[in-house]
């Protein structure tokens, strides 16, 4: 593979990963925390209603996990396509 096509393949793989992560980002905050909040509030975990928990707790925990997940995966992709830092 030439350097040019390798870089293009890398960028495609990156965009796919970003799309996956941002879908999760959207689902836990906008979908679970706002749009479907009433439907999820029917379910309780401990003293929390699920929709409320996503809006005030869960979404933030998942955001943190998402960033490290992305950093870890893209690090592997960097090396696979040989575009990593020295």
């Amino acid at each position: 593979m030439s350097e040019q096509t390798q870089r293009q393949a890398y960028w495609k793989a990156n965009l796919k990963l970003v799309a996956l992560c941002l879908s999760i980002w959207f689902v836990v905050s906008y979908l679970f925390g706002i749009i479907l909040v009433d439907q999820l509030n029917v379910i309780s975990i401990g003293g929390y209603r699920l929709g409320f928990w996503f809006a005030q707790q869960g979404s933030m925990y998942i955001f943190v996990v998402l960033i490290f997940f992305y950093a870890n995966r893209i690090g592997k992709i960097d090396r696979k396509f040989n575009v990593h830092e020295d």
């Binding site: 870089r7 890398y10 960028w11 990156n14 970003v18 992560c21 941002l22 980002w25 905050s29 906008y30 925390g33 706002i34 749009i35 909040v37 009433d38 509030n41 309780s44 975990i45 401990g46 003293g47 929390y48 209603r49 409320f52 928990w53 809006a55 005030q56 707790q57 979404s59 933030m60 925990y61 955001f63 943190v64 998402l66 960033i67 490290f68 992305y70 950093a71 893209i74 690090g75 960097d78 040989n82 575009v83 990593h84 830092e85 020295d86």
Partner: protein, 594 residues
């Protein structure tokens, strides 16, 4: 030892620490001054970013907002944290790879246009000054409440401290001071929260306590109990949604992309050694931010519960159900003297009735109890966090610590913003536009002078805040969301975006957002010049002015795309530049090319 002496000691000790760090971390080159020599470890940078981001508003006001808005305040929790996901995935690593000092510099080079850089500089300075006014005001308030000195003296002392470490150390001094400030503020925030959670639910972790049952023997979940207490007094249920779904959605989105577009946040990611570090650094920043942001909902709900329970100590409607004013606790008295808590005995029974008299059905019922209107005529939201340790009967050193924490939050944010302003002036305006041939030594001097000037202006505005200080925060986020974020994102993800598309897009986003905010809040916030009353009925599709930034950003993307399609693509070397920033390889070299 009395509270005042103790507070002086604790606050004095933290100030001595900040200045000590400043002397140790002096900056000797522009690279150290602007980006701390790009040698900051990602965890350290994450902690500094968290302190930079969490302002006096996060520390003092947010829990109060949550206490009174309940579920609706989720927009702030998600909005001010979700932006870091966008930063880590869409902006930070690429801007670090680009390897320059400022956001405007990236926009100027990527769009090969001084006009684009100028638009970015203006947005940056307006957004930062807006913000810094609030911080200086926060410093003054914290000083005057806890040290019983004059408000102006408080602002002046705060200015002097920031002056010493920011002018001397630049980004390097600020970064290391912010790490210390983070430790002070997070300790001060969580200690009272742990005690209160333990007290109410028996669970020492506030995040779990909020979802636990009450320890009062009722076995009821805390949130259910809170819902019951507030609805019994005619207020809307705590966990219920009051804002429209559309507005919640757009407000959250505006705050998220606004966060990702605020220059003082983005520039933190120029300070790490590698591209990979920029990604993890955003993650660490969010870890440290989330510690406070996930505690805040517990603090808010528990403070509301304590407040309601103190006043309505028994059954609603029974005479002895309400607190006797003469027996009020000491924290009630001390906040009354500040004027932030106000009681008026409307029915003259010597007891306090706190209920929602705007709720007609309940007001009629209350009249049957002999209540003649809500008697807590003022309950300022900002006292929630500050009064917390007193409400929970915690020792004086905890109260002193909260004062130091509030000051740390305000000072760290102020320093970050001042650096963003002075960098914009010395690097973007002086070196980038007026005299490109300036020597490093002179540029360093210019940035120190700019910093000193910015501190004086910020201090002046903090002492004489324009009447619209609270309104302009919406403006700062609106500007960042509608102009800066889309321009940066398209610069990285759309190779064919050209100078004309980007400039038209930024202007469309900027002007539409400004127009919408001014339409409902008055031209330049001058009272009486609003074109329509700022009420949900008048808003376009029910979108509040604060939430319009997301719409402005969409207009920006659309306009830029259309213009870039009908104008020639950017030159070859720009397309190569974009290809180059998309891969991490060679970041060390890019940074060395300054």
């Amino acid at each position: 030892m009395d509270l005042k002496t103790l507070t002086f000691l604790v606050v004095g000790a933290t100030f001595a620490l900040y200045i000590g760090i400043a002397i140790w971390a002096r900056a000797s080159t522009t690279k150290e001054f602007y980006v701390a020599g790009t040698g900051v470890h990602p965890i350290a940078n994450g902690m500094a970013t968290a302190a930079d981001w969490m302002s006096a508003a996060s520390f003092i006001s947010m829990a109060g907002l949550i206490a009174f808005m309940g579920y609706d305040a989720s927009v702030y929790l998600m909005g001010w944290t979700g932006g870091y996901v966008l930063l880590a995935l869409l902006l930070a690593p690429y801007l670090r790879k680009f390897g320059k000092f400022t956001v405007s510099e990236f926009i100027g080079e990527r769009y090969y246009s001084k006009a684009a850089r100028m638009v970015a500089v203006i947005c940056l300075i307006v957004a930062s000054i807006t913000y810094v006014i609030g911080q200086m005001k926060g410093v003054g308030v914290a000083f005057s409440r806890f040290l019983e000195v004059d408000f102006h003296t408080g602002v002046f002392v705060g200015m002097t401290i920031v002056f010493i470490y920011a002018v001397m150390g630049g980004m390097k001094g600020i970064t290391y001071t912010q790490i210390a400030q983070y430790c002070v503020l997070i300790f001060a925030y969580t200690v009272p929260a742990i005690f209160i959670s333990l007290n109410l639910t028996g669970n020492p972790i506030p995040q779990l306590g909020l979802g636990s049952s009450m320890a009062d023997g009722s076995g009821m979940a805390l949130l259910d109990k809170l819902d019951m207490i507030v609805t019994d007094l005619g207020f809307a249920a705590y966990t219920a949604q009051k804002m429209s779904t559309m507005n919640m959605f757009l407000l959250t989105l505006s705050l998220m992309i606004g966060t990702a577009g605020l220059p003082h946040v983005i520039m933190r990611f120029f300070t790490v050694p590698k591209v990979a570090d920029a990604r993890t650094s955003a993650g660490w920043a969010l870890v440290f931010i989330a510690i406070l942001y996930t505690t805040a909902p517990a603090v808010g709900a528990m403070a509301r519960l304590n407040l309601m329970n103190t006043i309505q100590s028994g059954e609603v409607g029974a005479v002895e159900g309400n607190m006797v004013y003469a027996d009020r606790p000491s924290w009630f008295k001390s906040w009354e003297t500040t004027g932030l808590l106000k009681f008026e005995d409307k029915n003259g029974d010597g007891r306090v009735q706190y209920y929602n008299d705007k709720n007609e059905a309940f007001a009629a019922k209350a009249a049957g109890f002999g209540w003649q209107g809500n008697e807590m005529v003022k309950v300022d939201r900002d006292i929630m966090v500050l009064a917390n340790p007193e409400v929970a009967n915690l020792p004086n050193w905890v109260i002193a610590l909260v004062a130091a924490g509030g000051l740390a939050a305000a000072l760290s944010t102020a320093a970050g913003l001042l650096l963003a302003i002075s960098t914009a002036i010395s690097h973007d305006v002086i070196k980038g536009m007026i005299s490109p041939g300036i020597s490093e030594k002179k540029e360093l001097l210019a940035s120190r002078i700019a910093m000193a000037g910015a501190i004086v202006v910020a201090g002046y505005l903090g002492m004489n805040p324009p009447g619209f200080a609270a309104q302009v925060v919406a403006l700062a986020f609106g500007l960042a969301a509608s102009s800066i974020f889309p321009a940066l994102m398209m610069g990285i993800f759309n190779k064919n975006m050209d100078d004309k598309g980007a400039i038209v897009g930024m202007l469309v986003g900027l002007l539409s957002t400004l127009l919408y905010i001014f339409w409902f809040k008055g031209w330049f916030f001058i009272p009486g010049t609003a074109m329509a009353a700022n009420t949900p009925d008048n808003w376009f599709m029910g979108i509040s002015p604060e939430a319009f930034g997301a719409v402005g950003a969409m207009l920006n993307f659309a306009a830029a795309y259309v213009v870039s399609k009908i104008t020639p693509p950017p030159p070859e070397h720009i397309q190569h530049l974009v290809e180059d920033i998309r891969v991490p390889m060679g970041a060390a070299k890019a940074a060395a090319d300054h």
